[in-house]
């Protein structure tokens, strides 16, 4: 109602002035900027220093800081307990929004609930906790698992003269990315008994472990058709083992679509990369944060899930814009 009155008033003023060349003010501008003045957003990733978390931080900073929002990074550097401490101290510091990247589905669940009860909006990114908060932005891992499962069936089906043997290299078993995705892959494989999962191991997101596991698996199953790895940074190890074996194994991996992934496709490190676009996720987060700060619902009262669109990128369908780079990369 106020908006309409303002609009009419502006129109009248413009007419009365008689001069059409005079500018008029956007009536929502003031309220928009007021909503963000002096607000605080805190960001707790599992660790800084790798493409995903650096990319999100970069995107959030770029979107929020010009609005006058303070953006604060708490880096627990792969320590779940340091992360829990960071969230605990944030609850008493009361920022307006906490952006959390969960190391696993359990650890932060109670803390996130507490944070919402303390009046803080909680946004979860990419790896979710078992507790749902105001916003989740990230890949639909169960769906992603299904799609990867279907790709594996398509590539390795004995109908096409392939062996039907596949292997999985997971990250950390308890991470949402691993657990949910496994569910999706298993769902598909249940419908396809002709595809045989000969190995399903966890490599802790570490390239060296991934390489050792893969070397043994290929040696035991020389007719292995494909490997699905759960992170491109880790799967440089998987790829090294495939290359050393001299076998033709299709490697489908996944990641945030950093430049390193496209380079890997270009030089044959990976056969296919499932990309959840990190700058896009940062933008999704920034948008929902802006919405929360403007609408001011009670924290925890609405639960929004925004699944990121997935791209299945190969060397053939890769475009110049398929990947993004960090500064200095």
């Amino acid at each position: 109602m106020r908006l309409r009155t303002t609009l009419i008033a502006a129109a009248v003023a413009a007419l009365a002035g008689g001069a059409g060349a005079q500018g008029i003010d956007d009536p929502t501008r003031g309220a928009y900027y007021d909503a963000f003045e002096g607000k605080k957003v805190a960001y707790v990733p599992v660790a800084m220093g790798f493409d995903l978390t650096e990319g999100w931080a970069m995107g959030l900073k770029a979107a929020l800081e010009p609005l006058g929002v303070t953006f604060d990074i708490r880096d627990p550097n792969w320590s779940t307990s340091a992360g829990a401490q960071a969230i605990t101290s944030l609850i008493s510091e009361k920022p307006d929004v906490i952006v959390v990247h969960n190391p696993d589905v359990q650890s932060y669940a109670r803390l996130l609930k507490k944070a919402e009860e303390a009046g803080i909006y909680v946004v979860q990114v990419n790896m979710r906790s078992s507790y749902s908060t105001d916003v989740f932005v990230g890949a639909d891992y169960v769906g992603m698992g299904r799609q990867i499962g279907e790709r594996l069936v398509e590539i390795c089906s004995p109908d096409k003269g392939k062996s039907g043997k596949i292997a999985i290299t997971q990250g950390v078993l308890t991470a949402a990315a691993s657990a949910y995705q496994m569910k999706g892959i298993e769902d598909v494989l249940k419908e396809h008994p002709e595809i045989q999962m000969v190995s399903n191991q966890a490599a802790d997101w570490d390239a060296t472990k991934a390489k050792n596991i893969t070397a043994t698996v290929i040696q035991q199953h020389p007719d292995l058709c494909a490997i699905a790895g759960f992170w491109d940074v880790m799967d440089v190890g998987t790829s090294a083992a495939i290359k050393e074996s001299g076998k033709d194994v299709y490697l489908i991996t996944q990641g945030g679509g950093n430049k390193a992934a496209c380079d890997g496709l270009e030089n044959g490190t990976y056969s296919e990369v499932v990309v959840y676009n990190v700058p896009g996720q940062a933008r999704d987060m920034a948008n929902t944060i802006q919405q929360l700060l403007q609408l001011k619902p009670t924290p925890g009262s609405m639960k929004t899930t925004l699944f990121t669109q997935l791209d299945f990128v190969t060397k053939d369908n890769m475009k110049p814009g398929s990947c993004w780079a960090l500064p200095g990369q």
């Binding site: 660790a47 792969w78 191991q201 390239a207 060296t208 596991i213 043994t216 035991q220 960090l326």
Partner: protein, 324 residues
């Protein structure tokens, strides 16, 4: 019991490894093939190289908890410099120089400031990791530049059909063996480890020997790091926070090098490494779930230690001060 009573821990562990090998060979098709044995050793060769470094320090009655962190940071820095356009040779030289400087500092803290090695190197490891991540590079995984073919060979190549990491493990072990057996410094190292006071009274330059032992460890660590980086075309600096350093100590202690110093040799490291290798390889072939693998690994290691304690009980004569 008398016959078994003479078995050393090294022999027990070797026996366990052989038993496991036999069991796997009978139960798992494809275990006892040349290709798999090469795979098996290759997968633990980096652990073995680091084990040799740690073994030398432990024989000198020290311990180097900064080994893995230093390896990760110095090699990651080398890769970062090379990516930024520096010639690979120069980058390697700088990385090695950094390693040596930190090794020297470790030795200085232990030998001259007389801080217990366990605390000095623990703090050093944390400091080096933090310094590296803050000053030297910003991402925690640093990739190998595309054109570094010669470097890549170090981890992915073959020498007479044997993967180069195994050759590097063999070379490092052989050099360390020669050092311990045939050089004055090597014998000094063992003497200092066995009894520091007695060594010093008899004229051994004890403090310089301690400096040297940490510098050697840093050098071998750098070599191990280069092999790691070359074999997966990247250096993951997160290993500095992983349990890898405990795995390295485990290999050393399991093989029978007592933490009280002065005892054991390179053979012990090799035996310890092989047992871990056989275990990991067999469990991967059986596709045992990761968490269950940890349980099995823990139980087998405990078994080895229990058998050793039963067959070689400690008493006042065999136990030394400082034995952990």
């Amino acid at each position: 019991m008398r016959v078994f009573g003479r078995l050393s821990q090294e022999q027990i562990v070797f026996g366990l490894a052989v038993l496991l090998c036999l069991g796997f060979a009978l139960a798992l098709p494809g275990f006892l093939t040349a290709q798999n044995i090469l795979n098996l050793v290759r997968s633990v060769s980096i652990l073995g190289i680091l084990g040799v470094a740690m073994g030398l320090v432990v024989i000198g009655r020290g311990i180097d908890l900064s080994l893995v962190a230093l390896m990760a940071i110095s090699v990651a820095w080398t890769l970062q410099l090379a990516t930024n356009g520096m010639p690979m040779g120069l980058a390697l030289a700088l990385g090695l120089a950094f390693s040596l400087a930190v090794g020297l500092l470790n030795g200085f803290l232990v030998a001259y400031v007389e801080i217990p090695a366990i605390f000095a190197t623990l703090a050093m490891g944390i400091a080096v990791y933090g310094f590296g991540r803050y000053v030297m590079f910003s991402l925690d995984v640093v990739y190998l530049p595309q054109d570094a073919e010669a470097f890549r060979w170090l981890g992915q190549g073959r020498l007479l059909g044997v993967p180069t990491p195994i050759c590097m493990f063999a070379l490092v072990s052989f050099l360390a063996f020669l050092f311990l057996r045939y050089t004055h410094q090597g014998r000094y190292l063992r003497t200092v480890g066995d009894n520091l006071a007695a060594a010093r009274i008899s004229g051994v330059p004890a403090r310089p020997v301690i400096l040297m032992q940490y510098m050697i460890a840093a050098t071998i660590g750098f070599v191990g790091g280069c092999v790691t980086a070359a074999s997966v075309a990247s250096m993951n600096t997160r290993v500095a926070n992983s349990t890898m350093i405990y795995d390295v100590i485990l290999v050393v202690v399991l093989g029978g090098i007592g933490l009280s110093g002065g005892k054991g040799g390179i053979r012990n490291v090799i035996v310890g490494t092989l047992l871990i290798g056989v275990l990991l390889n067999g469990m991967t072939i059986m596709d045992i779930q990761y968490t269950v693998q940890n349980v099995i690994k823990g139980v087998i290691l405990l078994t080895a230690i229990v058998i050793d304690t039963m067959l070689n009980p400690r008493d006042e004569q065999t136990a030394q001060q400082g034995d952990i």
